[in-house]
């Protein structure tokens, strides 16, 4: 059974020139454990699509089922809970809270889940260790590099052990070396069975994924499975 299915999803934005269709009847199904790269030129609707996937935005039309549940039927609190526990977000701009220590940043989703202080601490430190930043718990975000910040953001996305990770151009602000580091983290997570959907317009980043979905002008124009990079190299 699919982890998520979208059928006939449409979304338009209200602009000065009238409604602008950003997504036109898009359908897609993703199975548990998949690693999907969403590709396409700028303005093709990738972010719009990711926001709907992540229950941050609602489509104008179409049906979205996530883990067997109809997302249209969920109220705001239920959507917040899905974002909190079922999905982990990684953004292009890292989106860490600048005033908080890295540990507090990573622990924030646990606050909204209602966990106690000690449990939050322990789990946040675990996650920081998992992304290779165990020594940085008390640092502030602006004290570390972009690649490290993105790894903290991944730790935050992981801290509630979500089944789905959504990443919108997570390497967009990183150089190729740190990009590769971050991608290896995603790869490892996928290896643990976490489903990953990742937007990129770089082919070598997309190559980490087994499936590539290509958007153009609000429509899916290509949906192909390629062998994993290592396998391709063999």
């Amino acid at each position: 059974m699919a982890l998520l299915t979208l059928e006939g999803i449409s979304k338009s934005y209200v602009t000065a020139a009238g409604p602008f269709p950003a997504l036109k009847r898009v359908s897609l199904a993703i199975a548990p454990g998949e690693f999907v790269a969403i590709m396409g030129p700028s303005g093709s609707g990738k972010s719009t699509f990711m926001n709907i996937l992540g229950c941050l935005d609602r489509p104008d039309e179409g049906h979205y089922r996530l883990d067997g549940r109809s997302v249209e039927a969920l109220d705001k609190d239920a959507l917040a809970e899905v974002r909190n526990s079922f999905i982990g977000f990684v953004f292009q701009g890292f989106n860490l809270l600048p005033r908080m220590s890295l540990e507090d940043n990573v622990a924030l989703p646990l606050v909204y889940r209602g966990l106690g202080r000690e449990a939050r601490r322990a789990q946040a430190r675990d996650m920081l260790a998992k992304v290779g930043l165990e020594g940085y718990a008390a640092s502030l975000p602006n004290r570390i590099s972009g690649g490290q910040q993105q790894r903290v953001a991944i730790a935050r996305a992981l801290v509630n052990r979500p089944r789905l990770i959504l990443a919108d151009e997570p390497t967009g602000n990183l150089d190729s070396h740190t990009s590769a580091e971050v991608m290896r983290v995603f790869e490892a997570l996928n290896g643990e069975g976490i489903t990953i959907v990742l937007v990129t317009h770089e082919a070598d980043i997309a190559a980490f994924a087994r499936r590539q979905v290509r958007f153009l002008d609000g429509e899916i124009v290509e949906d192909g499975t390629t062998p994993r990079r290592e396998e391709a190299l063999c």
């Binding site: 935005d57 705001k76 609190d77 606050v111 209602g114």
Partner: protein, 406 residues
Amino acid sequence: MLGAMLHEAWQAMGANRLRTLLTMLGMVIGVGAVVLMMAIGQGAQYAVAQTISSMGSNIFVVLSGYTSVGGVRSGGGSAPTLNVADAEAIAELEGIDTVAPVHWGSVQMVHGANNWNAWVQGTTPAYLDARSWPLAEGNAFTDSDVRAATRVALLGKTTAENLFGVESPVGKTFRIGQAPFVVLGVMAPKGQNLEGRDQDDLVVMPLTTAQRKVFGTAFQGSVRQILVKASSAEAMPALEKSIEALLRQRHRLREGADNDFTLRNLTAVADTAAETTRVMSMLLGAIASVSLVVGGIGIMNIMLVSVTERTREIGIRMAIGARQRDILLQFLLEAIIISVFGCLIGLALGVGGALLVGHLTKTTVVISGSAALAAFAVAAGVGVFFGYYPAHKAAQLDPIEALRYQ
């Protein structure tokens, strides 16, 4: 959860310390002003209440002398139109507790090297009763002293101190002219009256002694004043009418003629004074409350700025699972913390200010715990009231819009 949010609110406030302090200042001034004004107002009320209770309750004073046209009282007590028989007749009326005729004047008193000009009240033992005036030491004179016109006296505290210094005057003598008087007792201190005169600067002696041996009045038995204590507050209106009717009849005043006496209801005067101070302290409180509201609006203003500035942060929080009520609570907590801290500081400054004012002006200030508690509750209320709108605005943000905000 709440612990984490308090911690975050603390961090958020610490991130912009100057702004937080300036916002707090509004609350500090508001609460400080309310506490200070309440302390001064309640102090005034307390002082008036003290004075009123020192007058004795349910008291009429009948003064001898004509009331001039238009109700303006002139020279009350100057012309001798009242006498002891009037007092005795009033004592027979319905609703009377006690009646004390008073003849007064000022005299020069001497004890050793000390001279003192004091106010003499010649009266009956009922006087102390009517004015609810206990003795600090010694004993009162009796009816037989009044009958025999003995040279005995009770001293007010001020008079006693000025004439005898620190030593106890009881059993000692002082002189008026060449005549020696024995001090029987010292009266308990009462402080100032409503007009600000020291009530403890007086000598109380038997009426007859004052009439015959101190002032030597030309009219036998005439008195300047009759003190009347009603049996209850309810009896006063009827008693006022019956005293007036009785005295008009006894003085054979024709219909339409002015009273040759003045009847004053001291309780009514006291009530007016009490009401005046009550209204004054309410006004002070109301004016101070305005600054509390202004402080609240300051909090709202800053919280709105803060919500706008932190729109992106709100978006991030929503993206990782904050519910609307989590965001609401976060901003509400910040507003409440600011107002509660502002309130605590304001409370301290207000109490300090009140004590300083009391010390500098030598007036009574009353710092009541309930007023402080009320100020605290109001401050928390102001925090919730003025913090709610910005917090609600934050909670209603659309996550996508908020995340896109630069």
